[in-house]
């Protein structure tokens, strides 16, 4: 399993507890947050879906629809009010340390120690997962080569790197820990066209060469259509539709002609793509 990263299988790690078919399964997950004036905001409303082993599932939704809360709950950073989250059959709320070993996340903000170099950040990130510098260095070299990142620049402070380069380092950091479940929360938002293409190419490569399962939250229609096996549409904390791209489009077709994913999204959410991308509260 997973030639490039050389991981052991999930079954090796968790034995019989590993789920047979699902990498991630959410059932009836709910989450509300209290705001300062006592009002309650419902971020997730009975969210249920699964990501199969080796599958890429995309979640499309406007800003503030609950995508980031969803990723934070799966990555054990937020505890749900109700429902269950299972990663390879292991309850992520009851056994966070077990599931943390097998997943990693890339978010919209690169989130590094800005004064440290890319290499120092990567070595630090690897050690938190029990990987020594000696083990990490050849892997870092290999991954950086794969993403077309000049090794010399890995010694520069992160704050000297462009957003696109920082995002490549964020992907490298995630891959370095050998995740079998990758959580990508708008990894290309705010990137220039070239960097976006590079990062998407890298995700495609992960998809093609690894059997990692990926949950990709985005509001980029092309990205979702190109990278995902199935796409879900999320509005106001609810998954209103989840299917393969073509099936999803057919579901919202008004006439004989199959709509684009953008048209499908607008029909499902009642929002234009511009409105969906506008600043919201997540």
């Amino acid at each position: 399993m997973n030639r490039l990263l050389g991981y052991g299988s999930v079954e090796d790690r968790w034995g019989s507890r590993a789920s047979e078919t699902e990498a991630l399964e959410l059932r009836g997950v709910e989450k509300s947050f209290k705001k300062r004036r006592g009002e309650t905001v419902r971020a997730l409303d009975s969210v249920s879906f699964a990501v199969g082993k080796g599958e890429v599932v995309g979640i499309l939704g406007p800003n503030g629809s609950g995508k980031s809360t969803l990723v934070r709950i799966v990555s054990t950073l937020v505890v749900p009010d109700a429902g269950t989250v299972e990663v390879f059959g292991v309850d992520a709320v009851r056994h966070p340390k077990v599931v943390q070993r097998c997943m990693n996340r890339v978010s919209v903000e690169a989130s590094f120690f800005k004064k440290l170099s890319a290499m120092e950040n990567l070595l630090y990130g690897a050690k938190l997962y029990g990987v020594t510098s000696r083990e990490a260095r050849p892997r870092i070299a290999e991954i950086l080569e794969n993403v077309g990142f000049a090794r010399k620049r890995a010694l520069e402070p992160m704050e000297h790197l462009s957003r696109g380069m920082q995002q490549k380092i964020a992907l490298a950091r995630a891959l370095l820990t050998s995740p079998v479940l990758m959580l990508l929360d708008e990894p290309t938002t705010g990137l220039g066209p070239r960097s976006k293409k590079d990062v998407q190419g890298f995700i495609r490569r992960i998809k093609g060469e690894h059997d990692s399962s990926i949950l990709l939250c985005t509001h980029d229609m092309d990205e979702a259509e190109e990278l995902c096996d199935r796409i879900g549409i999320m509005v106001d904390g609810r998954i209103v539709a989840l299917d393969e791209p073509e099936a999803l489009k057919r579901r919202y077709a008004a006439g004989a002609e199959t709509p684009t994913l953008e048209e499908t999204f607008m029909t499902a959410t009642g929002l234009s793509v511009e409105e969906a991308s506008a600043e919201g509260e997540e």
Binding site: L5, G6, Y7, G8, D12, R13, F33, K34, T69, R72, S75, T76, L77, V78, V79, K97, Q100, R101, R105, S107, E109, S111, F112, F113, K114, K115, L116, E120, L123, Y124, G125, A126, K127, L128, Y129, G130, V131, T132, E135, A136, P138, R139, P157, R173, S178
Partner: protein
């Protein structure tokens, strides 16, 4: 590489993570070297200025004062407070610092345990604090005619080491405050630090304080560390005489470290339930 990691015992992974935190802080110290030098100069000059208070005390009618002893008393207070407050601050700023850098979510979603995280922070603070204090002491030693003829350095180090453990626990308890309140938590931990400075007898004997402050001083590890370290450095007190300072520190270490971990765990759970982990304001 990952085959090795998969079969690696948990304790070894945690040790690697502790080294990761120590090494990261070392890298950061290197990157902020100019600021570290500025801070070292400030701390050294501050210690010198406080020590000169002792030199000037005689001019206020204190003819019977043993000036050398008083200056050494003040310097020991300044140096120890610098070390212990740094230890407390590093621990108590663990959460707010990572929030400021934007890395807190990555640290909290990693599989290394919170004990590992906080011990890694504490270990670096101890090593760096000792290094910084030694440099300050060296600079002051060249400038002042200090009365360290009877000093029991090993005894002072023993007291300091014991106090470091209990202060790490104390700092961990304070570190939970920014988790509970992102806006006000760090501010409260600074108040705790300033109260420790006031009541622990850093520059004067605790006996001069009002009764209620003396009561607070009995639960401050800094009080016992200063009493013990001064006894060792000024009077050359041996292990038997230092025991009176060491046993309260041992008890505080046994109580504060697990209590700190427990409180931090509850605070982390609260922050994850309310979504306050990432919020910085």
């Amino acid at each position: 590489m990952n085959a090795g990691r998969a079969t690696r015992p948990l304790w070894l992974s945690e040790m690697i993570a502790i080294w990761g935190y120590v090494q990261r802080n070392y890298f950061l110290t290197k990157r902020y070297l100019m600021w570290e030098i500025v801070w070292l100069v400030y701390v050294t000059v501050n210690a010198m200025a406080i020590t000169y208070i002792g030199a000037g005390a005689a001019s206020f009618g204190g003819g019977t004062i043993d000036t050398e002893r008083f200056m050494t008393y003040l310097l020991v207070g300044a140096l120890l407070w610098n070390y212990l407050s740094m230890l407390f601050d590093v621990l108590s700023e663990t959460v707010s610092w990572e929030r400021w850098e934007g890395t807190i979510e990555y640290t909290f979603m990693s599989p290394s345990s919170r004990v590992t995280h906080l011990l890694g922070m504490g270990l670096y603070a101890v090593v760096y604090g000792i290094f910084q204090t030694a440099l300050t002491l060296g600079a002051c030693y060249m400038l002042f005619d200090l009365d360290l003829s009877h000093a029991n350095y090993w005894g002072a180090l023993l007291v300091l080491a014991t106090c470091s453990v209990s202060l790490v626990g104390f700092g961990i308890v304070a570190a939970v405050l920014p988790l509970l309140s992102p806006e006000k938590g760090q501010g409260v931990s600074y108040i705790v630090s300033s109260v420790l400075l006031l009541v622990s007898g850093v520059y004067y004997d605790v006996a001069v304080l009002p009764g209620w402050m003396q009561a607070i001083a009995t639960v401050s590890p800094v009080t016992y560390a200063l009493t013990g370290a001064r006894a060792a450095l000024l009077d050359g007190a041996g292990a038997a005489e230092l025991w009176g300072s060491i046993w309260p520190l041992l008890i505080m270490g046994v109580v504060f470290v697990p209590l700190g971990m427990l409180v931090f765990g509850l605070g982390e759970r609260y922050a994850k339930r309310t979504g306050k982990l990432k919020r910085s304001g």
